[in-house]
């Protein structure tokens, strides 16, 4: 797993992995092999600069908990689907697509689930207000200099060395 671009921290009692979108699926495959067999949840959210997928996993045998998240830009919000690893995330991915607008590549049946098919917006994005109307003066924040999966000081330390 050394070649995967991710950052592992511990928040409260669970391990949080921030992972590069290209390594998202590889990391989850590794975690699945590690024994995280129970899909607790999958959340899509809008961070202000992009869209984020958060996967919450649990190992029934080990009792360990893990959270994996990755960020994708607004203009290309494509994340590989993990429904073949955990079929239980099928509807969660559909919900994240429906409400937040993340496209899951390889999902067997990526349709809207809670809203009607003829909706054009993804209402949980920050650019819409609670009525579903676009906010007039909303601008996306710039993509962060150091994405969550990179160590903030890593480049400086590397420069000194």
């Amino acid at each position: 797993m050394t070649e995967l671009r991710y950052k592992k921290t511990t928040e409260f009692d669970e391990e949080v992995y921030a992972v590069h979108p290209e390594d998202y699926r590889a990391l989850l495959e590794a975690l699945k092999a590690e024994g995280f067999d129970y899909p607790r949840s999958l959340t899509g959210m809008d961070t202000g600069y992009g869209l984020r997928v958060v996967v919450h996993l649990y190992g029934i045998e080990s009792g360990k908990k893990a959270t994996v998240f990755t960020d994708v830009p607004y203009d290309d919000p494509v994340v590989p689907s993990v429904t073949d690893l955990w079929p239980g995330l099928e509807w969660f991915e559909r919900e994240a697509f429906d409400l937040v607008g993340i496209r899951f590549a390889g999902h067997p049946d990526l349709r809207r689930i809670l809203l009607e098919e003829d909706w054009t917006i993804h209402p949980l994005q920050k650019r819409y207000d609670t009525g579903g109307y676009p906010l007039p003066d909303w601008q996306p924040a710039p993509w962060p200099e150091t994405p969550p999966w990179e160590e903030p000081q890593a480049s400086e330390e590397g420069g000194e060395a």
Binding site: P39, V54, E116, T130
Partner: protein
């Protein structure tokens, strides 16, 4: 545009009848719609559609302060209203770093288990109504009424009490509370044998339930099923044991599991859970101090530190989670509610296909969905 809520008939196949079960159907417990292909009475295809009760709580909650949100969480699973507040409150308490006094923890646990009994009673009544027996429905609703009256005395509201809060509970319990709960438990224990006789021991019910809708252990885990559904398939997964919260670490109880994974097992598990809840409440009543603080120290303006926290509890239907993302302001950046029925309903295509139509009704009532939380 093709109507997306229908399934296409197979060309050349004339013996399949495509029928919409729901959203207005007596046995869908709300507004589920399942498009079903029927060959005689046997189900060939089943496509569930949800979202008819969608309010987008999660968007509304982004525009509310943390304290205001608690009353929204009640409205998810309205059958076990009080239980839904807890995961969100636990997550915010973690982010705030609030200590909950032990008395408040015990009071919360008592209410939590009372609502589990109330919810299972509603499930039992409506589930038996689906199977054609009308009498258990009236019995269970009468018993549930006692729980709602106890809740009303303390919290002021019956089904959606908005009673838990950060650091404990909103106000001290009614002076009669512990006496009332003990009286209810005594009363309820005299009623349970009747339910066993009417439901689990009834030969007609056993003919309908045994071996119907079998869910394998592996499938239950992979599909993210939780609550009685996964425990009836032989997986002893219960959040109360897996990630203990509130007063559960200090209470003794067992997780009823069964290996069969059929409708009968799911009914059996819920029956045993009601018994375990009685046991838990009795222990908690012994331990709880009669007076003392009911709420920890919480700042008047709830502003959690930036961060994210996922907490889960075991409500009557299973694993209810709340993922709270705070950006340090009074308003949350994102709240995600992971509802157990939402995950359990994914089992519909697995369990329905190949079953008879009457079995599908039994399977659906054994999954026990509540659409307030499926659609949120």
């Amino acid at each position: 545009m093709r109507n997306p809520t229908t399934i296409e008939p197979v060309p050349g196949r004339t013996d399949e009848m495509i029928i919409n079960m729901g959203p207005q159907h007596p046995a869908t417990h709300g507004v589920l719609k399942v498009v079903i292909g029927l060959d005689g009475e046997r189900i060939t295809r089943a496509v569930p559609h949800i979202g008819f009760l969608h309010r987008n709580h999660e968007k509304i909650e982004e525009a509310r302060t943390y304290t205001q949100i608690i009353s929204y969480t009640d409205r998810m699973d309205y059958v076990s209203g009080l239980q839904n507040e807890l995961p969100f409150i636990l997550a915010v308490e973690d982010l705030l770093g609030v200590e909950v006094p032990p008395r408040a923890k015990l009071i919360r646990t008592i209410f939590f288990e009372l609502f589990r009994i109330a919810s299972h009673l509603v499930w039992l009544g409506t589930g038996m109504l689906d199977l054609g027996a009308i009498t258990p429905f009236l019995y269970t609703f009468r018993d549930r009424e006692k729980i709602l009256e106890i809740t009303e005395k303390t919290a002021g509201a019956r089904m959606l009490p908005n009673y838990f809060t950060f650091g404990g509970v909103r106000r001290d319990v009614h002076p009669d509370f512990f006496k009332d709960v003990a009286a209810f438990l005594d009363f309820f224990e005299t009623r349970l044998p009747d339910y066993y006789a009417l439901v689990l021991d009834s030969p007609v019910f056993q003919a309908r339930a045994v071996g119907v809708g079998v869910l394998s252990k592996e499938r239950a885990i992979a599909r993210g099923a939780s609550g009685p559904v996964i425990r009836a398939s032989g997986v002893p997964y219960d959040v109360r044991k897996a990630e203990p919260y509130d007063a559960y670490p200090e209470l003794e109880f067992e997780i009823p599991t069964r290996e069969e994974g059929d409708v009968y097992a799911r009914f059996w598990v819920r029956f045993r859970e009601m018994e375990e809840s009685v046991k838990i409440i009795r222990q908690a009543l012994e331990k709880v101090p009669k007076t003392g603080p009911y709420k920890g120290k919480v700042p008047p303006r709830v502003k959690p530190k930036p961060g994210a926290r996922y907490r889960a509890v075991e409500i009557a239907r299973g694993h209810l989670g709340a993922y709270v993302v705070s950006d340090g302001s009074e308003y949350p950046a994102r709240i995600k509610h992971r509802s157990p029925s939402f995950a359990n309903l994914q089992l519909i295509p697995d369990l329905f296909v190949g079953a008879r139509f009457a079995d599908a009704i039994a399977i659906l009532s054994s999954l026990d969905p509540v659409f307030g939380e499926v659609d949120r």
